[in-house]
């Protein structure tokens, strides 16, 4: 840790702080990889890791988007529609024609921004409940998905498969996109003026309003940024899977919420933890790989996920100090008698 020294004798500021969520999921990931190595060595073979990383990258993007929304005290249920739509737009519209890929990507981005604005207006400005508003948007997004694709899967365009599904320096390209997303989100939230304000609004909208910040705009903006990240996730997914279906996004809603919660961001809003969210995404992705390699029923994955979620939330919500104090008190009382 580097410490910025000032001339004054007063308060110091350290550059880097590590959140409790990051420590928790960090330890969990390390433990998981150790267990993987012992119990199912094939789950950490090069092939397994290379197979896992692209899906980790997709989950990272989706998770970061959900984190921005949750940070503002909201929740975004439109992930399935958003991811599916991005997939359909970038695979159906070029339909194998590489030259149409870029326009398709731009179109997908544009639609994502529109969907984000719709969510933002409904939740941020009209003050609708986030669950209802994003549920409605999700249905509309799926309508567009079916309108474009008719519900049938399309083969991915070769250029996209090379870009999103290929390897550079032995690492799947999608990972670079995910890391870029992490850096951009972290930098924006921690180092820019709007980002810092955004964080303050999430931490306490009432106090933010009293300091004169534009609370509603920031809350609405969360949904727009989130949609752009879902769009990136969808584009990556379209490149990774050979023949993506029209409902590919469905399986990402629950994991997206799970990684945000595991990363330590409260569902009531507050500070968001991008790095911890990404580490949590790595945890869940490796968990899949481990379960697959260990040969246990796939269902075990869900149950471990649920347990991890319960433990993750419990770590933050339950007043452990109070319980410890009470237990200690009882023990002391017991020894006294």
């Amino acid at each position: 840790m580097s410490v910025t020294e000032r001339q004054h004798t007063g308060l110091k500021s350290s550059r880097f702080t590590v959140s409790r969520g990051l420590i928790t999921v960090g330890v969990a990931v390390v433990a998981l990889f150790i267990v993987s190595a012992i119990v199912a060595p094939s789950s950490i073979s090069q092939g397994a890791i290379l197979g896992m990383l692209p899906f980790f990258a997709v989950l990272t993007c989706v998770g970061l988007g959900q984190m921005l929304v949750v940070q503002q005290g909201g929740i975004d249920l439109s992930i399935p529609g958003a991811v599916s739509l991005a997939i359909v737009v970038v695979s159906r519209i070029p339909n194998g024609d590489n030259s149409l890929l870029l326009p398709a990507v731009l179109l997908a981005t544009g639609i994502a921004a529109l969907a984000g604005v719709l969510n933002g207006v409904l939740v941020g400005l009209l003050k609708l409940n986030a669950i209802i508003a994003t549920l409605g948007t999700n249905a509309l997004l799926f309508a567009v998905v079916l309108g474009i694709s008719g519900g049938s899967p399309t083969t991915t365009t070769r250029a996209l498969r090379d870009i999103a599904g290929g390897l550079s320096f032995g690492v799947p390209n999608s990972v670079f996109f995910a890391v870029a997303a992490l850096i951009v989100v972290s930098l924006m939230v921690k180092k820019t003026v709007p980002g810092r304000r955004f964080e303050a609004v999430g931490a306490n909208p009432i106090a933010a309003r009293a300091t004169g910040l534009r609370v509603r705009t920031h809350q609405a903006a969360a949904y727009v940024w989130a949609q752009l990240l879902y769009c990136l996730a969808g584009i990556l997914l379209a490149g990774i899977t050979a023949q993506p279906t029209a409902f590919q996004g469905n399986s990402y809603l629950i994991p997206a919420v799970a990684v945000v919660v595991l990363g330590g961001t409260s569902l009531l809003g507050g500070r968001g933890y991008p790095l911890a969210t990404v580490v949590a995404a790595l945890f869940l992705s490796q968990l899949d790989q481990f379960v697959l390699a260990a040969g246990v029923p796939f269902a075990v994955r869900s149950i471990i996920q649920a347990a991890a979620l319960a433990v993750g939330v419990g770590l933050y919500t339950i007043n452990w100090a109070g319980i410890r104090a009470r237990l200690g008190h009882r023990r002391r009382a017991a020894t006294a008698t």
Binding site: S13, I132, L135, G136, A139, L146, R197, T211, I254
Partner: protein, 835 residues
């Protein structure tokens, strides 16, 4: 001055407190206070803010346990007084903040808060309730939603609840504060009637005029100590005033402003009025601090919010020669709110982040915030304010109250404001830090930035301010200058004021035009009526396009689908009514079907089938129990808890069956699909369930408790609802109804398929929202949820008959839910502004 202690025969006192002491973390709130009330007297309790009046009455009503002293009720020694025991002994207290449930009607509020015995043998319940509220001067209809009442009307309702119990001791805590003249007269009349019947009344107030009008005896507290007890007729106003004022100086103050020739006026308030204050004027010179005095809640905070640009106002505010609008003030003013925890600080952020948030643009280098610049600037300011913290990156909630306040001030200074507005800047701040805060405010003022300080502590204003405006009930009742600014003069202006809430918003005694039609439109059933209309119109349209729509087969299959969704939606309604949500209903229903597929088969004897269904029920109840326990005892949010169960149940389904298997017995399916004409019997059962639940919701304590919990948890707790039990029970009921849904689902899926059922979570939420149930809790109907389920299934079914693609299903769903949400939310908002 000597304290006057009257010798009264306390042996006949209804309530007698002797030698009560209470301290909070070392700070004495009450020291050796004795107080007694005789039957048939009004005993006024007088004193400044923080004198200990409310603490004393909380001791009397059992909500606070004293450290020392004894309590006697009707001459009997009470060892430990609980709120429940106090209520049984006939001690009723009317709090300053009424414990009323906004989403419920007046009648329901009364029925929930009062024991059933109050209404027994009194004829029709709503007539009796009407007579009760009329006696308190509440002119609304008993069917009106409390939400639509004015603040004053809510107080009258609270008073009604207390009087209906015919209490032996009635404690009124500042009851006239929000009331207009008419209501005050009515209230006084009611108090006199109660006294005539022998009720002892304790009347907490700040106003001497009311003491004179109403009270027989008066007790004065100051700094938690008894200052005197007197017969009202035998004591003069001056004597009372001397007892009230004269607090110990806790702090010294920096020297005041000394006039200099070059100092021009840099802040003018010209007749500003707003929500909660009227016609306040002042002109302040450079270097002067303007104080706003008055008892808490007399419009000072509202005035300050107006000056800070947070609320709108009429009139002119001129800062440093330029007239400013609300939005300019919001940008230019630095506001230090009284409530640091909710409005002042982002408690989860660090000291540095809190201090810097209003000044971030100053630290910008290129596109990014420069860490060095920020740390240097913020650090320098924090140093100059002598903020004590472990580091700049300490979470602000770990600081002491005084240091937290200094962080708020650091933010204000860093934002380079044109004006500083501070509401109760030293509340909850230790003595040492107070002096520093005064010093800082003085320095800011001397630098030419106008400073406005509101405080309920007259001594503080005496020491700090150069001009003081005294507020009472929203009016400026006096302006004090120079040597006139003394605690005595300030308190005198406030307590001798007879001004009544002149302000429109505060007084809003306007009676809502309450007609049966209006009540219906505002009521919970309006969405249901709307849905019936939509369902009929849509049905007629589809029928006109395709005659087969109303064929027996289609009616039957649609109603079967409705039945499965309907039960689950009824369950979801319960969770939403308490202000929660249950995401696990879909996977639960799917899981139960999988469990059932092991038992309910053709080759199994009847006993095994029955056992299987019993097991399904037990598992459902267990799920609800876990959901509720995680939420109440694990402090999970409803989403986190039920999401955990969502994932776990889905996993369990796949664990039991990794692919579809286990055919459901044909006999079972035959029973469940029995029909009367085209209508399945199970649908009729669903309707019966809906009707019974609806009646429970409206007419029984079970339903009131659910809605009370969702409406306002704190108020519900105060009227005696056991929140933990209500919530856990609600989630168990939700799961039980998901079990009913699963029974229907078994016939539809016909096999144990682990992938099925999940979609019912979102469709059940959609159906309930269409039915008009609010996701905020407290408001909704089961009938609406049933109709919402019908409409949802109808829309999905419509596409087949209209020859539309699957795309249209999604369009209809999306548009339906968004239109419903916007429509209901706009309708609800308008209702608030109308009344």
């Amino acid at each position: 001055m000597d304290t006057q202690i009257e010798e009264v025969d306390t042996s006949v006192a209804v309530l007698s407190l002797t030698g009560i002491s209470k301290s909070y973390s070392g700070v004495a709130a009450l020291t050796d206070v004795s107080f007694d009330v005789l039957p048939g007297e009004v005993h006024a309790l007088l004193g400044e803010n923080g004198a200990g009046k409310s603490t004393l009455m909380n001791v009397a009503s059992g909500t606070v346990q004293p450290d020392d002293g004894s309590i006697r009720v009707n001459g009997e020694q009470i060892d430990s007084l609980s709120p429940a025991l106090a209520a049984r002994l006939g001690i009723a207290i009317v709090h300053q903040h009424p414990a009323v449930l906004p989403d419920m009607s007046i009648l329901e509020n009364l029925q929930l808060a009062l024991p059933a015995s109050v209404f027994q043998g009194k004829g029709p319940i709503d007539e009796y309730a009407t007579s009760l509220i009329r006696e308190s001067g509440l002119t609304a209809h008993v069917g009106d939603r409390v939400d639509s009442l004015s603040v004053a009307q809510k107080h009258l309702l609270e008073i009604t609840k207390a009087l209906a119990l015919d209490p032996k001791v009635l404690v009124l805590d500042e009851p006239t504060a929000p009331l207009g003249q008419d209501s005050v007269d009515l209230l006084f009349g009611r108090v006199r009637e109660a006294v005539a019947r022998g009720t002892a009344v304790v009347y907490i107030t700040h106003r001497m005029a009311e003491v004179r009008q109403l009270a027989d005896r008066v007790t004065v507290l100051r700094d938690g100590k008894l200052r005197g007890v007197a017969e009202v007729d035998e004591v003069t106003d001056d004597e009372l005033l001397t007892m009230i004022v004269g607090r110990q100086m806790e702090s010294t103050f920096p020297p005041k402003y000394t006039a200099a020739d070059g100092d021009e006026i840099n802040l003018v308030l010209d007749g500003i009025s707003g929500d909660g204050f009227v016609d306040v004027s002042a002109a302040v010179k450079r270097g002067e601090i303007l104080g706003i005095a008055g008892v808490v809640g007399n419009g000072q905070s509202e005035l300050l919010r107006g000056i800070a640009g947070l609320d709108s106002f009429t009139g002119r505010i001129v800062v440093g020669g330029t007239e400013m609008t609300s939005s300019q003030l919001l940008e230019e003013a630095a506001y230090l709110p009284a409530d640091r925890h909710t409005e002042g600080l982002m408690m989860s952020l660090t000291v540095r982040e809190n201090a810097a948030v209003a000044a971030l643009k100053r630290f910008k280098r290129w596109a990014l915030v420069s860490n060095k610049l920020e740390v240097d600037t913020v650090g320098a300011t924090l140093d100059s304010l002598e903020v004590k913290a472990a580091s700049m990156d300490s979470v602000v909630s770990s600081l002491s109250g005084g240091n937290q306040q200094k962080v708020v001030m650091a933010r204000a200074l860093l934002s380079q404001p044109s004006i500083v507005v501070a509401d109760e800047p030293t509340q909850g701040v230790d003595v040492g830090a107070r002096l520093e805060i005064y010093r800082i405010l003085r320095e800011v003022s001397a630098s030419g930035i106008p400073v406005v300080v509101a405080s309920s502590d007259a001594k503080e204003l005496e020491g700090l301010c150069d001009q003081v405006v005294v507020m009472s009930r929203g009016n400026a009742v006096g302006t004090l200058l120079g040597d006139d600014i003394t605690e005595t003069r300030i308190v005198q202006s406030a307590v001798t004021s007879t001004a009544h809430t002149a302000n429109v918003q505060l007084a809003s005694e306007r009676v809502a035009r309450s007609t049966p039609f209006r009540r219906f439109i505002q009521g919970d059933y309006a969405p249901s009526a709307l849905l019936v209309g939509v369902i009929l119109v849509l049905g007629a349209f589809i029928f006109s396009q395709n005659v087969r729509y109303l064929s027996d087969f289609n009616i039957f299959s649609v109603l079967m689908l409705v039945s499965a969704l309907g039960f689950i939606a009824l369950g979801q309604t319960i969770s939403l009514l308490i202000g929660g949500i249950d995401l696990s209903v879909g996977p639960l229903a799917g899981f139960l079907v999988v469990v059932g597929s092991f038992f309910v088969n053709d080759d199994k004897p009847l006993g095994v089938v029955g056992l299987g269904i019993l097991l399904m029920f037990v598992l459902a109840i267990a799920t609800g129990l876990i959901n509720g326990s995680l939420i109440r005892f694990g402090k999970f949010t409803a989403i986190a808890a039920t999401l955990t169960l969502y994932i776990a149940l889905q996993g369990l389904s796949f664990l039991l069956r990794d692919s579809p298997g286990g055919y459901i017995a044909a006999g079972y399916t035959a029973v469940l699909t029995t029909r009367v004409g085209p209508v399945p019997v199970i649908f009729i059962v669903l309707i019966a369930f809906t009707v019974v639940l609806e009646l429970l919701l409206r007419k029984r304590k079970w339903g009131w408790r659910l809605r009370a919990t969702g409406s306002d948890e704190e108020a519900a707790r105060r009227v005696g609802v056991n929140i933990d039990r209500t919530v856990v029970f609600a989630y168990m009921a939700t799961s039980a109804l998901a079990f009913c849904g699963a029974l229907v689902l078994m016939t539809q899926i016909g096999v144990g398929d682990p992938a099925q059922g999940v979609s019912y979570t979102l469709s059940s939420i959609t159906a309930v929202v269409l039915g008009g149930t609010s996701l905020l809790g407290g408001r909704g109907t089961f009938v609406g949820s049933l109709l919402g389920s019908i409409l949802l299934i109808q829309v999905l079914n419509a596409t087949t008959f209209l020859g539309l693609t699957q795309m249209w299903q999604y369009i209809f769903q999306g548009v339906l839910i968004l239109v419903a949400a916007v429509f209901y939310s706009v309708a609800r908002r308008r209702r608030k502004t109308l009344v």
